[in-house]
């Protein structure tokens, strides 16, 4: 262990240069920059620390989603046919539009950082607003997608096999008691509600539910629709897919098709939550920007918030091909 004094160019010293605090210099800087916290010495020092912290946080985000990506990989590896089939129920065009929206909002965010760095307040505000609009646009499109899927009974769990639009279906959905509608009302006092019979076997109900579904229950599958459903599903523009629960009358539907939608809702749902969080962050940045907190000296929040927004974009960049672009 060589000493600092004897070797000024020691690696640790070099590190000290960017991460060091030495009393006198520090106090002067603190007088100069009000935003500088007491335990940092220079704005540069503070900025660097914030950046490192944020990147570590992004790493945790990656691993957080990573779990779901792994689950996706395992499921797709096990049911390739399910994924190539079910992905045709997703609307590639809508997904593509969403991707573009997110990319644009990412761009505006990057520009926002630049405007902050160059002391152009109006530019910063405009860019932040644009980014926020992008986030809203994304969520709106996602909302339409979701509601359409749910209307088509393209949902997770056993409900996937239960046509919701006739009384029998509703009833059966209740019996299976795995429909979100019945389980969301978590009433812990009554354990029966919690005993979601995933494994407490109810074979008759289960199988019959599936059978009846495939037999195209009353009022659902007119011969024409049956005929439509004969052919391979060819994507959203095929009218047969516009009809509720068409997948149930499709003889070509592979087993366990619900798995695709389970992981689809899990991943896009979690991503949606992150978009919402991002909106909160952007709104907060906007407020501070309007107040005029940011300058070429101090724009760390904009930069860090931007990083977060970019990672949200980044994750979607992978979600898009993994769900929408399966041939």
């Amino acid at each position: 262990m060589t000493t600092l004094q004897s070797q000024p160019n020691h690696a640790g010293d070099a590190h000290g240069a960017d991460g060091a605090h030495d009393g006198a210099h520090g106090s002067a800087e603190h007088a100069k920059y009000p935003f500088l916290q007491h335990h940092f010495d220079t704005p540069h020092h503070q900025f660097d620390s914030a950046k490192l912290g944020m990147w570590l946080f992004l790493a945790t985000e990656v691993l957080f989603f990573g779990g779901l990506f792994v689950a996706y990989a395992v499921l797709r590896n096990r049911f390739p046919e399910v994924f190539s089939y079910s992905s045709h129920y997703l609307d590639t065009i809508m997904g593509g539009i969403n991707t573009c929206v997110l990319i644009l909002s990412s761009l505006t965010m990057a520009l926002a950082v630049r405007f902050a760095q160059t002391n152009r307040k109006t530019g910063l505000i405009i860019c932040l607003i644009l980014t926020f609009m992008g986030a809203i646009g994304f969520m709106v499109i996602k909302y339409f997608e979701y509601s359409h899927k749910i209307h088509d009974n393209l949902v997770w769990g056993t409900t996937f096999y239960v046509p919701p639009h006739d009384a029998a279906g509703e009833l059966e959905a209740k019996e299976l008691s795995v429909a979100p509608t019945t389980s969301i009302t978590l009433n812990p006092v009554n354990p029966a509600v919690f005993a979601v019979p995933t494994l407490a076997p109810t074979p008759a109900v289960d199988a019959s539910a599936i059978k009846q579904a495939s037999r195209a229950p009353a009022g659902m599958a007119t011969p024409t629709q049956m005929a439509k459903a004969e052919g391979l599903p060819t994507g959203e523009h095929d009218p047969s897919f516009a009809h509720p629960a068409t997948h149930l009358v499709d003889k070509k539907m592979p087993a366990n098709s619900h798995v695709f939608f389970a992981i689809y809702y899990a991943m896009t749902g979690l991503h949606g939550v992150h978009v919402l969080a991002g909106m909160v962050v952007i709104a907060w940045l906007l407020k501070r920007a309007i107040r005029g907190d940011f300058s070429s000296d101090y724009f760390t929040p904009v930069d860090v918030g931007g990083l977060y927004w970019h990672i949200v974009d980044l994750i979607w960049i992978f979600l898009f091909p993994l769900f929408y672009l399966i041939h």
């Binding site: 354990p191 029966a192 919690f194 005993a195 019979p197 494994l199 407490a200 076997p201 109810t202 074979p203 008759a204 109900v205």
Partner: protein, 372 residues
């Protein structure tokens, strides 16, 4: 060591077998031999290092206690690369050897011989069902000696784990999958003794009572037992069914259903028949709000009480009694019609049994049914 082992082995009451040590139960399967050999080798290595380290610690601490009068000695070495490298590498070499032998034996454990005698195992909360090639079923595991036995196991609810300490074998039962276990035992289980079979994967309330016995029989006895076992139910005349078969079958139900009225995982069978047949005990309710009376009876979903009981056995989730979780597994494929009749008869004549399910009247001499 030896004294201790004898003490402990004496403490384990009733075990007629030799060879229990302080650390391990007797070896009763071919797999146990290598496994134990490995275990002892690792133990010896552990003793060596542990004792060495402790002695060294004592010496160091005693020798280098701080003396008040003399100043700090600062002549200790700061580091010693060769030494440190040595004690980084030596343990590695040792453990690599250990890994190799462990791995070799593990492969053997993982690959059941082709010619092994296969027994189908189904686990559910909280019991085991063993199905033999000729369709016989049993609650305890009976295996022939002198030939490899392969258990092909699956669970019908949650994770379970089949563990037979004396055989040194263990494997999880994962719902949705088959898992396999094999062993070969050569010595017949002594009379009045049985190897333990535990569930080693936590599975809830009855986890610790989900244990059975394993009996190893010589091939001829085993075959005899097997034929008897496959026919025991058919041999019983209808009118004797409920008190001969009832209690035996109830053994599979007692985890959840009491006979003395105490509320278990499931409703007690005390006064059950009165309840379902609309007698005293009132009109019970189901979780979905409907009552027995509105479900059972001519023209209802269940024509008769028997009909209701039967469907509750085969398809328990259909109507769950209010105040209970839908926790009962289906006994479809495990209980044939005659078995169900026996259970229903058992329920009807509840007053002829004590709270443990023991028949109170004396049982007339039975047709030969060897149940060990």
């Amino acid at each position: 060591m030896n004294i201790a082992s004898t003490i402990f082995s004496n403490l384990l009451a009733g075990d007629p077998r030799e060879g229990r040590t302080l650390w391990l139960p007797p070896q009763d399967s071919n797999l146990a031999v290598n496994s134990d050999l490995m275990f002892w080798w690792i133990n010896i290595i552990c003793y060596f290092f542990f004792i060495g380290i402790v002695i060294a610690l004592v010496i160091l601490v005693v020798k280098y206690r701080m003396k008040k009068d003399r100043p700090f000695r600062t002549d200790g070495p700061l580091h010693h690369l060769p030494l440190e490298t040595t004690w980084a590498v030596v343990p590695l070499l040792i453990v690599i050897f250990i890994f190799y032998f462990g791995f070799r034996d593990y492969l053997n454990f993982m690959t059941p011989p082709k010619n092994s005698y296969e027994i189908a195992v189904t686990a559910q909360k909280w019991g085991w069902l063993f199905k033999y090639p000729n369709g016989a079923t049993s609650d305890d595991l009976y295996v022939p000696t002198g030939r490899p036995v392969k258990l092909s196991m699956r669970s019908s609810d949650v994770l379970h784990c089949c563990y037979i300490p004396d055989f040194r074998v263990k494997k999880d039962l994962v719902p949705g999958r088959y898992s396999y276990l094999w062993f070969q035992t050569d010595d017949v289980t002594p009379e009045g003794w049985g190897h333990n079979l535990f569930c080693a994967e936590y599975c809830g309330t009855g986890h610790s009572n989900m244990n059975r016995k394993v009996y190893a029989l010589a091939q001829p006895e085993f075959d005899a037992w097997l034929t008897a076992q496959s026919q025991w139910l058919d041999k019983i005349p209808e009118e004797e069914l409920y008190f001969r078969a009832g209690p035996k079958l109830y053994a599979r139900c007692q985890q959840c259903h009491s006979l003395d009225g105490t509320k278990g995982i499931g409703p007690s069978w005390k006064g059950l028949w009165a309840r379902v047949s609309g007698g005293e005990g009132g009109d019970g309710k189901f979780v979905d709000g409907t009552g027995y009376q509105s479900q059972i009876g001519a023209g209802k979903q269940y024509q008769t009480p028997e009909d209701y009981i039967r469907s509750s056995i085969l398809n328990p989730g259909e109507h769950v009694v209010a105040g209970y979780a839908n926790a009962m597994p289906s006994f479809k494929g495990q209980l044939n019609d005659k078995g169900i009749d026996a259970v229903i008869g058992f329920m009807k004549h509840m007053d002829e049994f004590d709270t443990k399910g023991k028949y109170l009247k004396e049982v007339p001499p039975a047709p030969k049914v060897s149940m060990k």
